[in-house]
């Protein structure tokens, strides 16, 4: 089934007419259709994961909703397409999804020859290792000769090879396509080590491990994994929209605006906030959206901090600290460009 979808996406490149290459066609297509098609992770707690009631949850999922809200003032106008790591690029390339919000690391190759354009980073991550406590391993430097479970088709696979190479260590990879099967193999004991983004490890330990306390995430973070939503090449307007939806959510947190108090800010004298919330018009028109686009996003989805706390923050099973994802004013990297 999975490879079927993947093949279909590749086939779309071969057979499909060029429906998405004119100026600004994605926005028109999405408006005409009435919903955003969003590619998300099929099962990564905290980022893209259906809950027990079948509703999609996660940080990446919320950014799909934010884009839909900016367009339609309705966070439910999204059709989620769960994608494996392998399927995601053909799916976005072929136009099967409008937006890829699936914990995808920004890299030069992906930005160029894979044909993607990245919106701002929504989560600064890094690759880590998880091992069973029984092994008594304290550092990734002690992993020489270990068997490592890793999902195929990810930057993780490459970082893993690079890290062991750099440290003159050998390893034995067990590379499996589906995230569920990778986790199953690791928790059954097939591998000594599970490696993926540190946030993903936290999610897996919280949500998948039979006994979370039996497993420990090693301190080393071996790579930079800036995760960002992506769109395909050739539609600058659509990229602009996704980009500024992300910035608006960050700017809102910076300005102290959240979903509960946003209405109070409509009477503000601060010209910056007036522009953001559409009180003084112009920004929406520039993006080809309603002037209330950012107001709607903040009101119905929330600011960056709310999205973070709701999905991956300290009160969720993932228990992730803001760390690099704190606002720049708090020593983190999240920094919104000025809305003007």
């Amino acid at each position: 089934m999975k490879s079927g979808l993947f093949a279909a996406a590749a086939a779309a490149l071969v057979f499909g007419a060029v429906t998405t290459a004119q100026a600004g066609p994605t926005l028109d297509a999405v408006k005409g259709r009435g919903f955003v098609q969003c590619g998300v992770n099929a099962g990564l707690p905290g980022f893209g994961n259906p809950d027990s009631a079948g509703n999609w949850t996660g940080l990446d999922v919320d950014y799909c909703r934010a884009v839909a809200t900016a367009l339609f003032n309705d966070p439910t106008k999204v059709k989620f397409t769960p994608l494996s790591a392998q399927q995601r690029f053909p799916a976005i390339q072929s136009g099967e999804v409008d937006l890829l919000s699936r914990n995808t690391t920004v890299t030069l190759t992906r930005d160029t020859s894979v044909g993607l354009n990245f919106a701002p980073v929504t989560y600064y991550d890094g690759q880590g290792f998880m091992v069973n406590k029984k092994l008594g391993v304290k550092s990734a430097k002690e992993l020489n000769g270990a068997t490592v479970c890793v999902q195929s088709g990810t930057t993780t696979e490459l970082n893993l090879a690079d890290y062991f190479r750099t440290n003159n260590m050998s390893y034995n990879p067990v590379v499996i396509e589906s995230n569920d099967e990778v986790n199953a193999a690791f928790f059954a004991g097939r591998c000594d080590v599970l490696t993926t983004d540190a946030s993903g490890l936290a999610g897996t330990r919280a949500g998948v491990a039979p006994v979370p306390d039996d497993y420990v995430i090693l301190p080393e973070i071996i790579s930079k994994e800036p995760l960002a939503p992506a769109v395909r090449h050739g539609d600058d307007q659509w990229l602009d929209i996704v980009t500024w939806v992300v910035y608006a959510s960050i700017q809102a947190e910076e300005s102290g605006i959240n979903s509960k108090n946003v209405d109070e800010f409509l009477n503000t004298k601060n010209p910056e906030i007036q522009r953001l919330l559409g009180v003084s018009p112009g920004m929406g028109k520039a993006l080809g959206l309603d002037e209330k686009w950012a107001y709607n996003v903040i009101k119905k989805v929330g600011n960056y901090g709310e999205i973070f706390d709701r999905n991956v923050g300290p009160k969720t099973p993932l228990k992730l600290e803001r760390g690099l994802n704190a606002l720049w004013t708090n020593g983190g990297l999240q920094y919104a460009m000025p809305v003007r």
Partner: protein, 398 residues
């Protein structure tokens, strides 16, 4: 006759050389038309693809094969490290696919033949066991069977530190089966050479024995001679080479066993899964082949005084094989193609590695084309061989 008619028609139309009522012209016209349409559609698809790709500035071409792969592969028949190129990584995948396909085909044929014969057994229990096996196995999707075999290893085997040690030097755990292997020595190469020599000599003996039997009617114990040659020659080479006995025994070091050879759980699962699944179909093929040979043939052979072994070898099997081989070829092809399910359980086959490659490079179309091209080549290879074999065993009609 026909050309005369054509000439007449042509004459009647006053030399007009193009008419669809002329069968030759019509045939040529439609063939040209069909070829034209196929070429046009093909051109359109290629053009459309390249157009789509270039509009989205997605890289094209096979230049990536020269670039460094920088990902690891769990098991490989040739030396491979992440420093090697995508091209070499792909080759590793092709070899892994061939490895599981060839061993799988051999094992499935053996198991399938045994089960197929067992289904015809007059022993009620054996026949029923064989039937049950066939009916259960061939009605469950192969992917599920692979998960089943993989789960058997990862869930029922002990962790690596508590590996089972049934025979000294042999260790069985979740990490696979580790066995000792002889330490590298030039004598192994010499033994392989001796074996090849023995096979060539055996072929000559076989030919000589056949002509002699045809001429004089005297049989020659070809089977025993062949066995003697095939065992004897390498044995002589082994003893002459100093009979080395050093073994590379696996030892638990750090996380894993080092040394020796290993059958990984992934390889075990894909090989067992494919063998067991395909053998069920082969069993039915074999059964149908044997049933297709008229019982009268066996009776006639017995009447001529042939014992049961010779009856089977000289009378029943040659006729059954004609029925068996064509569908057997399809089963071999199925097994080879089903090996692409390896991706699901982490065996680094061709599809798995090509998928990783096309993910890192984003060049899905090239990657998929390479996968298709490779499977096509392997499948055509099997087909050609089996067709040749089929022709060889075909009943020579006089």
């Amino acid at each position: 006759m026909a050309s005369e008619t054509r000439d007449t028609v042509r004459g009647a139309q006053g030399g007009s050389s193009f008419s669809l009522s002329d069968p030759t012209v019509r045939a040529v016209f439609y063939q040209v038309l069909v070829v034209g349409i196929v070429v046009a559609v093909g051109w359109y698809l290629i053009h459309n693809t390249l157009d789509n790709l270039s509009r989205r500035s997605i890289a094209t071409g096979f230049g990536f094969l020269e670039r460094e792969a920088s990902f690891g592969i769990g098991e490989s028949l040739i030396d491979y490290s992440p420093r090697d190129t995508y091209g070499r990584a792909f080759l590793v995948g092709v070899l892994n696919t061939l490895k599981v396909s060839i061993i799988g085909i051999v094992l499935a044929t053996v198991l399938g033949t045994v089960v197929g014969v067992a289904r015809l057994s007059s022993n009620w229990l054996i026949a029923k066991i064989a039937s049950t096996y066939v009916e259960i196995v061939r009605n469950i999707p192969p992917l599920l069977q692979l998960f089943f075999w993989y789960a058997i290893v990862s869930d029922s085997m002990p962790p690596v530190r508590q590996a089972l040690n049934p025979i000294p030097g042999v260790f069985l755990s979740q990490r696979g089966l580790f066995v000792p292997v002889p330490v590298a020595d030039p004598v192994w190469g010499e033994m392989a050479f001796a074996l090849a020599l023995a096979v060539i000599v055996a072929i000559f003996v076989h030919r000589w024995a056949r002509t002699r039997q045809a001429r004089t009617g005297l049989p020659f114990p070809t089977g025993l001679t062949t066995l003697g040659l095939v065992v004897g020659f390498p044995l002589i080479a082994y003893i002459a080479g100093g009979a080395p006995t050093a073994l590379d025994v696996p030892q638990l070091q750090g996380f894993n066993f080092r040394g020796g050879a290993v059958i990984s759980p992934e390889f075990f699962a894909i090989l067992t899964g494919l063998t067991v699944y395909t053998a069920a179909f082969i069993a039915e093929v074999v059964r149908s082949g044997i049933v297709a040979v008229n019982w009268g043939q066996t009776e006639a052979a017995r009447a001529l005084g042939l014992n049961s072994g010779r009856t089977l070898r000289l009378v029943v099997l040659p006729q059954a094989l004609r029925v068996i081989v064509p569908p057997l070829t399809s089963q071999y092809l199925n097994l080879t193609k089903n090996s692409s399910l390896a991706l699901a359980i982490g065996y680094p086959d061709l599809v798995s590695i090509a998928n990783t490659t096309l993910n890192q490079t984003g060049q899905a179309i090239e990657g998929v084309a390479m996968i298709m091209g490779t499977y096509l080549t392997i499948s055509l290879g099997i087909s050609i061989f089996m067709n040749w074999y089929n022709k060889r065993i075909a009943l020579v009609e006089r």
